[in-house]
Every structure is written in C-alpha cells, then in structure tokens.
C-alpha cells in the first residue's frame, strides 16, 4: 500500500503508484484528476472558482479552474505522463444549499463543473468519468496504481468511478 497524499482546498499535487491523492469534503469546489495508466502518474487539483480572469487577486493558481487545470496538466507531463494517454475524472460541484435567489451561491458548483469540461476539451484530454452536481459533499481519492477514483459521501454508499 502506498501513501495517501492530501490535497487541500485551492491546492494541486502529482503522485505516482503506489501512492494515492485524497481530498476531504468537496462541496461546490471541483476535484479534477488526470491520470496516465502506463506510467501510473496521477494528479489532482481542488479548485474553488471557475475563472481567474474575473478577479484581480488571482495569484494562487490552484484556486481557479482555468489556471489550476493547466498547471496540473503541465506538472503531469513534467512528471512523465503522456499527453496522448492522459484521461480525466471529476467530482464535486455540488449545490450545498437550495438557494433560490439570484446570487451566485447557487450556481458556482455548476459553473465549476462546466469550466472543467471546457478546459479538458482545450487540452484534448478525454473526460472518462464524473460525479458532479446534486446537493451533497464528497471525499474523493485517486489511486495511482489503477486510476480508480473512489468517492465517499455522508449517508450514501461508496462508489468507484
């Protein structure tokens, strides 16, 4: 068994088999993973907001979908992952409160998930599995040994996508 490496909020990391990458309690944020099944290199970014260009204070690249996903992709390649073999999986983007108002609170999860799809298309990385939206939090773990993406939620059965 390898080590479980923790990825915090607004954080990104790359690991190799037999290690795994884990992020605890994803809410409206997105946990996006990239994986190369041959070199068994995996990466995860836990970003909070879709777009860094909307804000002035955007120095933390792992906080945003656009800059975070690109940086993760770059790090994956730097660590031996092939751009041609890389596949992506995503989870999170929940709407934690059924807010009916017009504020962005209700939509940020959805926008975060859309941004992942847009960026993956740009980078030409296929999205092979996703577990996004709905109204609950998720703990997610990517196993670099086989690319399994394990998802745990309160009061729900565990699943692997």
């Amino acid at each position: 068994m390898g080590n479980s490496i923790k990825v915090g909020m607004a954080d990104l990391k790359v690991a190799k088999a037999p290690d795994s990458l884990i992020t605890l309690g994803l809410g409206s944020c997105i946990g996006l993973t990239l994986y190369d099944p041959v070199t068994k290199v995996g990466g995860m970014v836990h970003y909070m907001l879709p777009d860094s260009t909307q804000l002035k204070n955007n120095s933390n690249i792992a906080k945003f979908g656009d800059t975070g996903i690109k940086e993760l992709y770059r790090l994956m390649v730097a660590n031996g992952a092939s751009p041609k073999r890389m596949v992506a999986k995503i989870a999170g983007g929940a709407k934690m409160f059924e807010v009916s108002g017009l504020s962005n609170v209700g939509h940020v999860g959805e926008r975060n998930a859309e941004q992942a799809k847009k960026l993956l298309k740009e980078l030409k990385v296929p999205l092979v599995a996703e577990d996004t939206g709905l109204n609950y939090g998720r703990t997610v773990e990517l196993f670099c040994e086989n690319g399994d993406f394990f998802i745990k939620a309160v009061g729900k059965s565990n699943k692997t996508i």
Binding site: M9, G25, G27, L49, N57, M96, V108, G137, T139, A153
Partner: protein, 205 residues
C-alpha cells in the same frame, strides 16, 4: 481597489467582535425564551484565516455538521451562515423537543425545521445588532439547511470570500446552561457592502 479582508485592521476586527457580542447576546435571549431556560453566553471569538483553511477550521473536514445559510438583502447585500457541530445541534433540538438529552437519532424533517428556526433566530439577532449599529436596513432571506461534511458546507463561504481575496473571517460563540453548545457565524457581505458597513460605523470615510 475594493475592500478586502487581506488588509483589515484591528479596529475592524474589534467592531465585528462587538457586533458578534451584541448579536450573540440577542440570540441567547431569544433562544432562552424559546426553550424556557436560562442560558449563559461566553464572549465570542473572532478569527481571521485563509479562506482555503476554512474547511478544517471548526473540526475535521469530514465530520458531519449542521449549516444554516441565509441571504442578506436591502442596504447590505451578501449572505451569512451559522454552523453547529452535531453534538451541539442534538442538545438544542432535544431541549426544544423536550426529549431525553441522550436521544441521538438522525434528524427527521421536524428536527430540521427546528434547527432552521434556531439558525434563523440566531442569524436575525446578529443582523439586528448590525442593523442598529449601522442604522441600515438589513433583511435576511428564508433559511436553508444542510447536514453534511464540514469542509463541503464550508466550501460555500470559502468560495464567497475567495472571490475577493484570500482571507475569511468567522465568529465562534459558546452558550448553554449545564451543557455548553458552540456555534459559528460567518458573515459574507458583497464587496461594496463592506465599504457601506465601515462607513456607517465611522471607520472609513
């Protein structure tokens, strides 16, 4: 350059502590009346931290907590959240429902509405304090509730704060009689509302 919690001064923190103090006082009185019991309250603690650290600020990220969320409208726009750990939430619901204090079953619909109402009273008390200090009209929306992992619930305020900077602010209060309960307030004004609050309080011109 808009207001950001990345460069707040001690005076602002003191003002928020005072608002928290008065708000928590009002809330304790309201809940005491609701429960028909006398409750004591500790001086609230104001904490400033990185927004990305918020998920683990009150307990382990995966621990289940109760979060009540309200939008705030009128002269100030934004949102606020009130959080309780499960133990505190069970104590207060059991008191309200006049159940045995050791009752520990998962919350049913009735319990959730009771919790929503408690969150509503606490949030309104806090907003009334803010409103009377600033002379501004502040209206809370209906409350929304979630019982889930702490980090998932706290991702909502983390994202709200994250839009304007890297820091977040929350207020911890303790109240109770024989058993202490902890609650956590998070006030999230929109960026232009910060300036309004500070102006109204005479901290900023």
């Amino acid at each position: 350059m808009g207001f950001s919690l990345d460069n707040v001064n001690d005076m602002y923190i003191d003002v928020l502590r005072e608002i928290g103090n008065i708000g928590a006082g009002n809330a304790t009185t309201a809940i005491s009346q609701m429960l028909g019991a006398r409750l004591n309250m500790e001086v609230p603690k104001v904490q400033l931290m990185e927004a990305s650290e918020l998920g683990g600020a009150i307990c382990d990220e995966e621990e289940t907590v109760v979060g009540i969320f309200l939008e705030v409208l009128d002269d100030i726009n934004g949102s606020m959240m009130f959080l309780m750990k499960m133990e505190s939430a069970h104590i207060i619901v059991n008191k309200l429902m006049m159940r045995d204090p050791s009752y520990n079953e998962p919350f049913d619909e009735m319990d959730l509405s009771a919790l929503k109402e408690i969150g509503n009273i606490i949030a309104s008390s806090y907003l009334t304090a803010l409103s009377s200090l600033t002379n501004m009209k502040i209206q809370p929306s209906v409350p929304y509730i979630a019982v889930d992992m702490a980090a998932a619930i706290l991702s909502v305020p983390a994202i709200q704060f994250g839009q304007y900077g890297d820091n977040a602010l929350f207020i911890e209060t303790e109240f109770g009689d024989d058993k202490e309960m902890q609650g956590y307030f998070i006030l999230m004004p929109e960026q232009d509302s910060y300036a309004k609050i500070l102006k109204a309080l005479g901290i900023m011109n």
